[in-house]
Amino acid sequence: MKESAILFKNVSRVFSVRHNDIAGTVKAVDGISLDIRDGEFFSLLGPSGSGKTTSLRMIAGFDRPTSGSILLYGQDVSNLPPYERDVNTVFQDYALFPHMTVGENVAYGLMIKKVSKAERQKKADEMLDLVRLPGFADRKPAQLSGGQRQRVALARALINHPKVLLLDEPLGALDLKLRQQMQVELKSIQQRVGITFIFVTHDQEEALTMSDRIAVFNLGKIEQVGTPAEVYEHPATTFVASFVGTSNLVSGEVAKRITGSDTRFSIRPEKIRLGSMSDKIDADMVSADGVVRDVVYIGLFTRYLIELEGGGDLVVVEQNLNTTSMDVMKAKSQKVRLIWKKEHVRHVEG
């Protein structure tokens, strides 16, 4: 196993808040331990207010832990200011310096290090090439599009060759097409420069696409850490199951009728096959009968809402292999048998 790039040891961050003269505290990060390895593309995934951004800010040094410690390649950096950490950040709003040209922005880190002007320019041009913005050095940030600013911010953060690069929802402001293109590009840049990337996002699809591993945050705690496949296929908690992808969550009486146990389980909509009442059930299969209540045709696939006989609903997604929108609509109000493999049933906590 590779060495740790970032190690969180039982880190908490408590903010004191005052609202309408009532003072209180909020635990933004609540006793987190986390090990991010060298060279990883690691995502911190969670809804807003889940503690992922605070965690990132503590790695960057903009915030300090209330308790616990953060190690950067073995060195305790919990109380180092940002300028003494070998970590750089791509900000959500890019934070380009409006009074400087693109070239000066990119070379800023080198200027602070007192690198000669000629050397600075050369390096800045190299970085602009890397992010595919050659010849933009003399423009002002205000003259760039959102996607271009994003690339400048990336070039600026990479020029110091940090040990770890932090990305705070950098793709949030871009439109869908550009976002997908940047996802691919970020990944390839990461592989080329070989730096550990820590990526904060609330977009589960983005996290699944890009990451080597993902930490799912909720309410200041980490719910699960794992590869995209692990997190998707084996959600450890109810929260992960519902936040990452869509899941049917079944519990209580309904669960007992299907699996024989009343422990709560999750089943992904795409794992369920829509069969007819005469279909036989194999030993490694599970089934439930119900009536199709709703059909939504979405082109690539169709989504069905099934009302189960014993109560409760299940969502089923089927690829449109050879059906048309006319065909799928006929399924409405039909009695159906839902069949899926036992191994896809995930018992979840909470």
């Binding site: 005052r18 960057a60 040094g61 903009f62 200011p81 940002p82 300028y83 970590v87 750089n88 950040t89 900000f91 959500q92 709003d93 890019y94 934070a95 380009l96 310096f97 409006p98 009074h99 800023y108 880190g109 200027m111 602070i112 290090k113 002002k140 940030p141 205000a142 600013r149 600026r156 953060a157 110091n160």
Partner: protein, 274 residues
């Protein structure tokens, strides 16, 4: 939802509105322009309209008047010192309010705006009371202290607005890239604040330059230019000189303000880095 008709109702100003707007503007400006006209009238002892004739002779005479010169020089000194003090205090307060959360934060703006929002006579008589109670002698410094107090809020407002517009992540970005607080201040904060500071300074300067109410209570026997003009108005001795001096004051205050507005406007243009 598409609008019901291409011509949006109420989109064009009615002629009543236009006329009222123009009338208000003329009301606001014609008197000032008259000062310029009367600076060139040949009449010495009355405000007859139309002026019987025009002359340039009062301008050199006014500029050569020793009392006017003394007053002008004193006013410039006071305004300069009051502006510098206000710059320091206003910027510190704005930075603190922008960067930090602390108890009583909302009260700060309220307190700073009080000297300008409460009647000028309140600040004036309050300072006069302090001067009287502690038997402080009237001096150049008592004028400066009074002026600086009501100038602070102007700088504060300008600087705070700029802080809010430029946003905090630039400072974080700079530190993130290896710059310590001093380097960040020099390379990032100062260049981005410079025009706001300049605009605030100019406004503070103008405010101090023509202040008369507070000054009346803190100046003792010294005459700033506005006080000199005021005394000339009470006992008109030399109307043409007063007219020319008045014109001079308009120019000295209005031109820098035009520049300040330009600065603020141009910084809006180069922004767009959101």
């Amino acid at each position: 939802m598409p609008s019901k008709s291409p011509a949006q109702p109420g989109e064009r100003a009615s002629w009543i509105l236009k006329i009222s707007a123009i009338a208000a503007l003329l009301f606001l400006h014609i008197p000032m322009w008259l000062i310029f006209l009367y600076s060139f009238t040949t009449e010495e002892s009355a405000y007859s309209f139309p002026p019987p004739g025009l002359t340039l002779k009062w301008i050199p005479q006014a500029i050569a008047t020793p009392a006017m010169q003394d007053a002008l020089f004193l006013t410039l000194k006071v305004a300069a010192l009051a502006t510098i003090t206000a710059l320091i205090l206003g910027t510190l307060a704005a930075a603190a309010v922008y960067r930090y959360e602390f108890f009583g934060k909302e009260a700060i703006s309220f307190m700073l705006v009080l000297p300008l929002a409460l009647p000028g006579i309140v600040t004036g008589i309050a300072m006069r009371s302090a001067i009287g109670l502690m038997t402080i002698p009237f001096s150049f410094w008592t004028i400066v202290i009074g002026h600086a107090t009501f100038c602070v809020v102007v700088v504060y407002n300008n600087v705070l607005a700029r802080f809010r517009r430029t946003g905090g992540t630039m400072v974080e970005a700079s530190m993130d890239l290896g710059a310590n607080s001093f380097q960040t201040f020099l390379h990032i904060i100062l260049p981005n604040m410079a025009s706001a500071l300049l605009a605030g300074a100019i406004l503070a300067f103008s405010l101090s330059f023509d202040e008369v109410i507070v000054t009346t209570f803190t100046a003792g026997n010294q005459q700033t230019l506005p006080i000199w003009i005021f005394s000339q108005m009470l006992k008109p001795r030399n109307r043409p000189i007063t007219n020319v001096t008045a014109m001079l004051v308009v120019l000295i205050t209005a031109i820098p303000i035009l520049i300040a507005q330009r600065i603020v406007a141009s910084s809006h243009d180069t922004e767009g880095n959101k």
